[in-house]
Symmetry: C2
Subunit: 299 residues, 2 copies
Amino acid sequence: MAKAPQFRVALLQLPAAQTGQDRLALAEQAVREAAAKCGPRTLLCVLPELFASAYFCQTMDPAGFALAEPIPGPTTQRLGQLCAELQVALVASLFECTAPGLYYNTAVVFDVDGSIAGKYQKSHIPCDPQYEEKFYFAPGDTGFAAFDTAVARVGVLICWDQWYPEAARLTAMQGAEIIVYPTAIGGIDSEPPSEWQRQREAWQTVQRGHAIANGVFVATVNRAGREPGPNGGIAFWGHSFCAGPQGEWLAQLGESPETAIVTCDRERAQEVRQWWPFWRDRRVDLFGPLTQRFGPVAK
Amino acid sequence: MAKAPQFRVALLQLPAAQTGQDRLALAEQAVREAAAKCGPRTLLCVLPELFASAYFCQTMDPAGFALAEPIPGPTTQRLGQLCAELQVALVASLFECTAPGLYYNTAVVFDVDGSIAGKYQKSHIPCDPQYEEKFYFAPGDTGFAAFDTAVARVGVLICWDQWYPEAARLTAMQGAEIIVYPTAIGGIDSEPPSEWQRQREAWQTVQRGHAIANGVFVATVNRAGREPGPNGGIAFWGHSFCAGPQGEWLAQLGESPETAIVTCDRERAQEVRQWWPFWRDRRVDLFGPLTQRFGPVAK
């Protein structure tokens, strides 16, 4: 069956977590509201990274592992039922346990019938003050992937992956029409607001660059607001956005919880790839050294 | 010897070519004026792509090969003397002939003593209406490289290379402190001005992304103004720019011929790489498929 000329993506910029909040119900409500504005089988919903809890990686605490669950598991069962009921596709970032002591930062792609189209384990794991992810997560073992859903062929990367052009390229090479980035990023108080702004702009720019280099849509979904933690916690800066295959802005949210629903035009994407046929000319014969950490150290 | 805390780069945005113009004299004048504003051994000058002539690739014409010359050759000899006299480093994009019938789009890096620090042959060759480069140039055989000069360790890529994150990455992996892109890009009249603007923004954004992903300075130098050719020729859009290692704007020129001299702060570059240590986490174990053209075709 020929693909529709357009599909839609909903950026569900959820609020920062509060104590005692039912995050799954919150997410469910956001998905329901977005679905109500769109026809069935046309909408891809994207939730922020690790949406089901507070961003527990602010500290290293073995108690945090209690939040993990298997995939499939109770959360994927509930989200699958939701997708089937509403006939929406969904990307949900979860804390996955695959074996005792083995945990991943994993995103699950649900198709519109509620089935799991695939899962992706975050490949690049950060370790920064208040982003202690190397304590919790093994580097992903799925590799880079894109998954067919009734809405679109969806590539998934997660947060820190967004700084790596290789990750976007390899995902686009799997035929992704859109790359989604569930994200948890914000400022910490030891850095001045001018630095937050530079970082935020860099964060958007590098991902718009992935859209351009690969001729794909990019949709990045962050949480919005402050969560407590050491040194004042993290002020998640929102600013979820969607860029078209020329890097053009299709949507950008502010610093508050909010949803954007964006139309992605397949003909436009096709045109952009034909006008500037970057894919044709990659010098794959020269790219072998990309599997090295670095070249010879400069003098 | 420890490196200076800063170095400078001059973006020499030359005018579009006119009939009978001595392009080499024009370039020499621009280099002299920039050098006069800076101390010796602190300045890297960058000229636009194929600055020594009109952009002859608008049409396929075997007569165009008469413009090519060997490296080293008469032009590199003259430019080397200039660099030695002024004690500036220089990146000059030339039309290189290495054997009868074998031509490259090549950039030469001169050190401040006038010697050739190295040359780079453009790896990715475009073939678009009025950019008939595949007719003239073999895909470069040098691979990606950075070269030590007294001013900085300089990575060089050329125009169409700027759309390829792999090229920037492999050049940065050679220890480049700055990646320079001699460029010849503009609009053609069959596309509306709104498209020119989108393209120009995409062109800058993807390169700012390379700066961010790799923690390097990026300096891109275009020519400015219209050159005749089929269908009204090409309106080279100028807008040469320099971005810092966070993708931040350090300079951006307009649509007229002009020079910008930019200070590049090594401490700032070091800080950026330490705050966001992207280099640490590359999943080189997963990057092997980057040497493929594409992955499995999507359904």
